[in-house]
Symmetry: C2
Subunit: 208 residues, 2 copies
């Protein structure tokens, strides 16, 4: 299978890290979607990444939907979100908070990226940044209670909540450096550093 998109995208990267954690081999096709939309559109009418192109040519789109599929093919021993019940809800809740914080970091970052500096609208940036901070603050209270080998959602092994929290935090720090996230969410910072030191994360590091 082929994963389309660059690892700087947290949506692409959480997919890549998940593939690594599950031990599913894939090829990364590092297409910068804004520079080469014509490479993405044939697989996704919305021209968004990631897209995951299966060996028969079928393309899956949206990281959450791709991860849902990967969980299905990985089987019960390797899936990153439990199949049902309270644990599924809990893992998805933390994943959603991390992903929502990522979404808002993207919104703030895009405010600078896609318009002339003189029409950046600071109140809108502040609105989104506040949600970024709120999301990681919520996750920080959970991370504060974790022992050395424990996982965000209290699972026996790493779950999607861990991957999305760590990948999301790393991303948010890069695109919103002025937010002081490492000070505001020190326990998430420590947790993210612990995850980023692991093989599956290092194998999908953001190119410098």
């Amino acid at each position: 299978m082929r994963l389309i998109g660059i690892l700087r995208s947290p949506y692409v990267r959480r997919t890549a890290v998940s593939l690594n954690v599950m031990g599913i081999p894939f090829e990364l096709d590092a297409v910068p979607v804004f520079d080469k939309p014509e490479r993405v559109t044939p697989h996704n009418p919305l021209t968004r990444v990631p897209a995951l192109v299966l060996d028969d040519g079928e393309a899956l789109i949206d990281s959450s939907v791709i991860l849902d599929y990967l969980d299905e093919i990985a089987g019960p021993e390797k899936r990153l979100v439990s199949e049902r019940g309270a644990e599924r809800r809990h893992v998805l809740k933390l994943t959603t908070v991390a992903l929502g914080a990522v979404d808002k970091a993207v919104w703030s970052a895009y405010e600078y990226r896609f318009r002339p500096a003189e029409i950046v609208h600071k109140p809108w940036v502040r609105h989104n940044d506040a949600q970024v901070v709120a999301g990681f603050t919520y996750l920080d209270a959970i991370a504060a209670k974790l022992g050395e080998n424990e996982w965000m959602a209290g699972t026996q092994r790493m779950s999607q909540a861990d991957i999305t929290t760590a990948v999301g935090f790393t991303f948010a720090q890069i695109v919103r450096p002025n937010l002081g996230l490492a000070e505001k969410a020190p326990n998430v910072a420590r947790f993210a550093a612990r995850c980023e030191a692991l093989g599956p994360f290092k194998a999908a590091a953001i190119p410098s």
Copy 2:
């Protein structure tokens, strides 16, 4: 259970329609999140809607995660996304395209809603609008082949792909009236009208 958010939000509305289709009773708590964020934050640290508060007080957040839970409790006869396999992938793919088009309609609409008129950045609006049109154009080719009683993803009964397509199209027409979506995606327009005439949609109509 209590669904927090207003039906003008396509994320809230697709959840409400889904609850109606599945026959799950709920109370709608029509909180306008931008006016009364303090009513949402206790249930969702990101202050986004919908939130679904269960009878024991647990709050689920993000429409896709809420719908995943509702599918689990609805059981195999009533769930709106099949539990696994090719049909699940297909339903989620169409749902994702519709939801992505909705996301981009929101981005364009927010460009006008949350900043002074003189700093609206038209190129960004055009970028997002193009994705709205692309999403519904893709869905239109599928809708063009549907018989009177057929569903978007070829399922035996209505699926989440149908609900999100119809709710998304209705919403996009309201917030992006100048896009001419009814002309660009006439088959989706016809399909959405067919859905909107059904009880579960009418029971979650957007207040005028």
